[in-house]
């Protein structure tokens, strides 16, 4: 080819490329909310807002890089989250960039939803609204718990158009707590529980470390109350028929027969009164008819256990009894909550750890009984237009007995504001995708005194419009009014919000916005004294329909809540800590019951109740009550999970809500989650679960270690230090500047998996899908292991977060032929992706097996690739990767200290992603060379140890032994092969 030809070709191809480029839609490199001249490429901007993944309302900071949100972190100033975030919160960005998000408004044409322009969609909606205007109560509005401006606007809008009162749909509404508080304290509210101030927490099924009320906040509180510090540690007793994650964090887990919580609580109260331990003795009448011996027999809880619980609880100054969860939601729910109220009153906890005043937002949820009435009205054809806000999915989250889908089909016009396709949008006639809460204005008050403010953290990813804006526009059209006039005068929802906040913040609007809202110092308002009214409490067990069979425990899971977060692949691939299962739902059956029924692990079983039937693989557990079967609520797949073959084609959701009756609990008006017995039968099919942990038995390897409280206290006060002899022929490493290290407190870790999800978000960890994960190819850099000790039926669980140990004498380093694995000057095990040839020798030689290999080129389905952290390399196929201790954060931290502030890095300047999000502060990062740093102190603490220290790898990650409370130490191992 000569020079002329070359230019010809270049010119032709260039012109073709340019012409082809003209046909493409314009793409914005910086999709900013407002073009910002202050934007510095490479520097993150942080926006404060409020997490709306569940009603807990944690304050979050969204990290915006070049106009795109890439990571969420808890807002350290916010009283609810206090800087932490749970896994669901961390995964919210996957909702924002969800591949299945509606690209724009959709209208039903035949069986399918077809795209339609916003103008047409709004016109259709306004016409329909005009049709029902003034026809009296034929318009129904259902939203998730919105107690701020959007809620107020919705109410105003509904009223203006003459609709039925708005229904706030939250499947977990805690109606029984409200009913009990009405009965005992005369207050229809859910108080603030000061778990952090309690010495002893006695929980009746309240899964406060998973979903109960505000799991991040209560996990923070639990850590303050329970984690061993300076010789002190609180006690936690949990009563539940199955060993949930919360139960396995208890010092004593009491397994009761399903539905006997009220009786157990009353028996404890009675024993307290009999023992003369109660501070307040007015409650004799309430428990007059309770016979602890009989309760012990019925509930299966030994009398001594009841006595011990009573003694421990009464001795606490103060204690705290709480109740909730699914086990406490049947016909005995209100009685149980009343008994709990009496326990708190008798022990003198009301006003101390049970605080009315800073009441929870949950008190404003529409009771389930009213939701059921609306569904009946729909089924009766009384509703003509149904408006469903984003975040609600009644066709999926309400009991199957209610036949919600059939009822919705009877409504002539259903509008949904959902951003993602779900079981309800499948029935909608018009879908007007709402903006994600990270793209929206708004406010939310999780408890009295705390008002969180939401602001758009980036421009909408899809052609979505904020629900408030749409309602204002459509409402005005339907009412025939103009902007600035009539009942809906505001131009936009933003204007409405600002107007609503004006009296509160005055000219401090931008301060409030940058802080993420307003709250009173200390959060807790002065306690309101409430004296209980004492009545006899019915100790009857929960009534279960269905005759013979196993009691169904359908419980909300920390990963999926009511199902609204199950479409996030991070949460699907993060294992359930107790079972270590990914990508699946399962039916947890007691091992003995299963062997009687001839069921093996992985057999697909059909659970049949009088209201429905579902098929699920069986998970055999020695811990669950033999008379119960437990199924997590809310499991379903997103369409793209099937499209990308993360799960086998044809995989379907299996939601136990389908098995539940329509009827509300008569006393509280709440849904009766514990109300049916189900028959369990093998279908003959098999679907082995994708379980990541091969065994929960550590085989005497002391990976997770424990120490009894007395010894821990003696050592802590005596100042004993970790002493390991390091014999080596080689000279010691010398660290010129820093030596980074971490410490993990096994006593603090509750196994919530928030760190695992945070690590996915921070480090661009890909998703591999069900089959690959089950085959040991998950890429997660961090895993939470559950190690069980003691009796199989009553194991003592320890949670061990395991990631690269950054060994000083690292087995991975010398075996790498190309120095891809090497030791940095700051004590990290570096991994140079570009050098890696992929011999995988390091992976074999790592005794912890924390190195992860890129078996394939992993996909980040569009637009999820926008979420990728620009500071972290996306790894190619064929190379090894692992935890870097968030090297990008270390570099940024050093850069900031050295260059901007001309100083050394201070302790606490740098936080790893896992540490940052940990609700219990179990993880500490810092400079091991600095003896005053927090991590050095922990590394030299008496409880410190290194995992597999006998191999001599000398890890930079130190673990602190779990402290087991006196009397509840794990017994010697009885056998191998715990499930």
């Amino acid at each position: 080819m000569n020079r002329r030809d070359f230019f010809k070709i270049v010119a032709t191809t260039g012109a073709t490329a340019a012409a082809a480029g003209c046909q493409q839609a314009t793409e914005q490199i910086l999709p900013l909310v407002v073009p910002n001249e202050q934007l510095v490429p490479g520097v993150a901007a942080w926006f404060a807002t409020v997490c709306r993944e569940c009603p807990a309302g944690c304050g979050v900071l969204a990290r915006n890089r070049e106009g795109r949100v890439v990571k969420l972190e808890g807002n350290p100033d916010h009283p609810v989250s206090q800087g932490a975030l749970c896994g669901r919160g961390q995964a919210a960005v996957q909702g924002l960039y969800h591949p299945d998000r509606f690209p724009g408004p959709q209208r039903r044409e035949g069986d399918a939803l077809k795209p339609v322009s916003w103008d047409d969609a709004l016109k259709t909606f306004a016409e329909k609204l005009g049709g029902v205007k003034g026809k009296g109560k034929t318009l129904a509005v259902v939203s998730q718990l919105e107690n701020g401006s959007l809620g107020a606007l919705l109410d105003r809008w509904t009223q203006a158009l003459g609709g039925r009162p708005r229904v706030t749909l939250e499947p977990f509404g805690y109606e029984a707590i409200r009913a009990a508080n009405r009965a005992t304290f005369g207050r229809d509210a859910i108080p603030y529980y000061a778990i952090h101030d309690a010495e002893v927490v006695l929980s009746f099924g309240a899964d406060f470390l998973e979903t109960w009320l505000s799991n991040v906040h209560y996990a923070r509180g639990f850590a303050r109350m329970h984690t061993f510090r300076d010789g002190k540690a609180g006690t936690f007793i949990h009563v539940e028929p199955r060993q949930s994650l919360t139960a396995s964090n208890a010092d004593e887990w009491v397994r009761n027969a399903p539905g006997t919580e009220a009786a157990v609580a009353l028996a404890v109260l009675k024993l307290m009164l009999e023992g003369g331990q109660a501070a307040d003795r007015r409650f004799g009448d309430a428990v007059a008819s309770v016979d602890p011996r009989k309760v012990a027999e019925e509930s299966g809880v030994p009398l001594e256990t009841l006595q011990n619980v009573a003694k421990t609880f009464a001795a606490a100054k103060p204690g705290l009894a709480i109740g909730g969860g699914v086990a406490v939601s049947g016909s005995h729910a209100t009685a149980t909550q009343i008994a709990i109220n009496l326990l708190n009153a008798a022990a003198g906890n009301v006003g101390k750890t049970v605080r009315f005043g800073p009441d929870s937002a949950y008190g404003k949820v529409t009771p389930y009984a009213e939701v059921a009435r609306l569904v009946q009205a729909m089924a009766a054809g009384e509703i003509e237009v149904l408006v469903l806000g984003s975040g609600v999915n009644p066709a999926f989250t309400l009991p199957g007995g209610l036949k919600v889908a059939d009822a919705i089909r009877k409504v002539p016009f259903v509008v949904s504001f959902a951003g993602l396709p779900d079981e309800t949008t499948a029935l909608a006639h018009l879908v007007l995708p709402d903006t994600h809460w990270l793209e929206s204005w708004g406010d939310y008050s999780p408890m009295e005194g705390v008002n969180g403010l939401l602001q758009p953290t980036m421009k909408p990813v899809r052609d979505a419009r904020q629900m408030g804006d749409v309602l204002l526009a459509v409402g005005r059209t339907a009412l025939g009014t103009e902007a600035g006039k009539g009942p809906l005068p505001w131009e936009s929802f933003q204007q409405y919000l600002k107007a609503a906040w004006e009296p509160v913040v005055k000219d401090k609007w931008s301060e409030a916005l940058s802080q993420g809202g307003t709250w009173r110092e200390g959060a807790a308002a002065p306690a309101v004294a409430v004296s209980p009214r004492v009545e006899r409490v019915d100790a009857a067990a929960a009534k279960l329909d269905g005759g013979e069979g196993l009691a169904l425990i359908a419980y909300p899971s920390i990963r999926w809540y009511d199902g609204r977060t199950a479409s996030r692949s991070w949460l699907q691939e993060t294992p359930d800590t107790m079972t270590q299962t990914v990508w699946d739902a399962w039916a947890e059956i007691n091992t003995e019951t299963a062997s009687k029924l001839g069921i093996r692990q992985g057999d697909v079983v059909k659970l049949t109740s009088p209201h429905g039937a579902i098929d699920l693989p069986a998970y055999l557990s020695p811990t669950i009550h033999p008379g119960a079967v437990a199924v997590p609520i809310g499991h379903h797949y997103a369409p793209y999970h099937l499209r990308l073959k993360y799960v086998p084609a044809g995989s379907a959701s299996a939601n136990p809500m389908a098995l539940l009756p329509a009827a509300a609990d008569a006393v509280s008006g709440g849904p009766a989650f514990l109300s049916v017995k189900v028959s369990v039968a093998r279908t003959g099919a098999r679907r082995p679960l994708a379980v990541l942990q091969a065994t929960h038995d550590q085989d005497e390897r002391e990976l997770a270690r424990h120490v009894d409280l007395a010894t821990a206290r003696k050592e802590a006060l005596g100042g004993k230090k970790l002493h390991e002899a390091h014999l080596s022929m080689y000279s010691e490493h010398e660290y010129k500047g820093y030596r980074w290290g971490m410490a993990v407190d096994v006593d603090a870790c509750i196994g919530c998996q928030a760190c695992v999800v945070a690590c996915h978000a921070e480090n661009n960890v890909p998703i591999v899908g069900r089959a690959e994960a089950a085959y040991g190819r998950q890429v997660s850099w961090l895993r939470i292991e559950r190690w069980a000790e003691g009796l199989a039926a009553q194991p003592h669980n320890m949670f061990l977060p395991m990631f690269c140990q950054h060994c000083e004498v690292a087995p991975c380093e010398p075996v790498c032929p190309v120095f891809a694995a090497y030791h940095t000057e700051e004590g990290l095990n570096g991994q140079v992706y570009n050098r890696c040839v992929g011999t995988r020798y390091c992976g074999n030689n790592c005794p912890y097996h924390v190195r992860r290999f890129n078996w394939w080129n992993y996909e980040f389905p569009s637009p999820l690739e926008i979420q990728l952290n620009p500071d972290v390399t996306v790894r190619q196929l064929g190379i090894m990767e692992k935890c870097t201790m968030c090297i990008q954060r270390i570099v940024a931290g050093k850069d900031h200290a050295h260059r901007d502030e001309k100083r050394a890095v201070r302790d606490g300047d740098i936080q790893t992603a896992c540490q940052q999000t940990c609700p219990t502060k179990a993880i500490t990062f810092g400079n091991l060379k600095d003896e005053a740093s927090a991590v050095s102190k922990l590394a030299n603490a008496p409880r410190a140890y290194h995992v597999l220290d006998e191999i001599g790898t000398r890890p930079s990650v130190t673990y602190l032994k779990k402290v087991v409370r006196g009397g509840h130490e794990p017994e010697p191992r009885t056998g191998k092969g715990q499930a």
Binding site: A694, D699, G776, P814, R840, N844, N854, G878
Partner: protein
């Protein structure tokens, strides 16, 4: 393998055991180089087809990623490294026969050493593919070579994998030189009777050999020197390969026993492979006069001896694991004996420890069928030995969280089978291009001719 009509008449005397003359040697060896028959082409087709499948499977794996092979955490190494070590082991017998036995003046080596040497080179060429097949990014495998480069990269000489690169490339180059030097006089003999491209090729390869006295003196000295140079390699290569494992921490790998254990196993399997190749050669080319029963007997005895030594090493391995008192080491051993892969261990014990015992019986040592069956069993057993070291040890090591079972896929199995096809296609090609029996050395072992009537030149 030659077509029936081309089969030469039986050697005078009718019996295959008659001592051939120099002329017979020339004729019989050159006969093996005659144009091949249908049977040969049929074999080539079968082997070629399998090789094609292997190449396609490898292409797929390069394109898709290592996930196509069944590897996982913790078995990041599995069948590729198993087969790599297997082929390196096979490559051992050749040099042992040609160099060590030459130095020890074991005269029975003459009839088999050429084939054994060729086998060595082909086995090392096959083994050499595996580090490439195995690497996650094989296109960067050259990062392991030490040469000044603009990347400022230098291999890590602490890594046993870099030692491997040196051990194997040294072994390959010395073996190749040794092989070519050994071929020179024979090639000259073939040159003199061939035509066309073969003649040009052989002229080049024979390096101007005329068979002069001076050439012979130099040739002998060079051959002896190369033999002396190659001898330590017999021990070093497989020792170095064994350190891939012994230098690692993995329980079941981390053992000082590994170097002698691997060397012995390599000789064991190498002789089995020599028999697997030599017995059909003898049958199809009617080489009974050269590969005689006493040769088979000698090789069978070596297999028996190395097999017994191997059994001793197995016992040592079990004993040291148990005697160490180390819980993790014992647990690993116990799982290998009783866990998911116990069938593989049982196969190995049967093939390597039990099956060679039949060779204590003299008749078995000269019975080609029994020898063939034992050799194949030994090869299977030795493949499983490496499998048992790699896969079950990794599957049950320090960390119980990741314990588990590796399951091969179609891709990696096809590549493994393809590697055998690659080896056999090289060997099949060799026997039709080069004299697979050493004309020179066979003649040396014969009684000197009293009167050479048929005038077969002594080259």
């Amino acid at each position: 393998m030659s077509a029936p009509e081309r089969t030469p008449p039986p050697i005078a005397g009718g019996a295959h055991v008659a001592e051939p003359t120099y002329a017979d040697v020339n004729r019989d060896v050159l006969n093996t180089l005659r144009p091949p028959g249908n049977l040969y082409f049929a074999w080539m087709c079968v082997v070629g087809l399998i090789l094609t499948c292997g190449i396609l499977a490898w292409t797929y794996q390069i394109f898709m990623g290592m996930g196509a092979a069944g590897k996982r955490t913790p078995q990041m190494w599995a069948m590729y490294i198993t087969t790599f070590v297997f082929w390196i082991g096979i490559g051992h017998a050749g040099t042992l026969i040609s160099a060590v036995l030459y130095l020890f003046r074991a005269r029975w080596r003459t009839s088999i050493y050429r084939a054994a040497e060729a086998m060595t080179i082909f086995a090392v060429l096959t083994a050499g593919l595996f580090p490439m097949i195995h690497a996650g990014r094989m296109w960067f495998a050259y990062f392991l070579l030490p040469y000044p480069n603009q990347r400022y990269l230098w291999p890590n000489f602490k890594s046993p994998l870099v030692w491997d690169v040196f051990a194997i490339s040294t072994y390959l180059s010395i073996s190749t030189v040794f092989f070519i030097v050994g071929l020179v006089p024979d090639i000259a003999a073939v040159r003199d009777v061939s035509t066309g491209w073969r003649r040009r090729l052989f002229t080049m390869l024979s390096l101007g050999w005329e068979g002069s006295d001076r050439q012979w003196r130099h040739y002998r000295r060079a051959y002896g020197l190369l033999a002396a140079l190659a001898t330590p390699l017999v021990l070093s290569v497989h020792s170095v390969v064994s350190w891939d494992f012994a230098m690692a921490l993995v329980p079941g790998w981390h053992s000082t026993l590994f170097a002698p254990f691997f060397v012995d196993g390599a000789i064991f399997s190498g002789f089995a492979m020599v028999l697997v190749l030599a017995l059909p050669m003898r049958h199809f080319f009617h080489l009974h006069a050269y590969i005689r029963d006493r040769h088979l007997d000698a090789m069978a005895k070596l297999i028996l001896t190395t097999g017994l030594v191997l059994t001793y090493f197995y016992i040592c391995e079990l004993f040291t694991s148990w005697y160490s008192g180390d819980h993790i080491e014992k647990a690993s051993l116990f799982w290998r004996l009783t866990g998911s892969y116990s069938w593989a261990l049982a196969t190995m014990y049967f093939c390597n420890c039990i099956s060679p015992l039949i060779l204590f019986w003299k008749n078995a040592r000269t019975n080609p069928v029994i020898l063939y069956v034992v050799s194949v069993l030994v090869l299977i057993g030795m493949w499983f030995e490496r499998f048992n070291i790699i896969v079950p040890s990794l599957g049950h090591d320090f960390y119980p969280y990741t314990w588990g079972v590796y399951i091969p896929t179609i891709t990696d199995t096809t590549i493994i089978v393809g590697s055998f096809a690659w080896f056999f296609i090289l060997f099949l090609g060799f026997i039709k291009v080069m004299p697979s029996l050493s004309i020179v050395e066979v003649k040396e072992t014969l009684a000197a001719p009293i009167k050479d009537t048929r005038h077969a030149g002594h080259h």
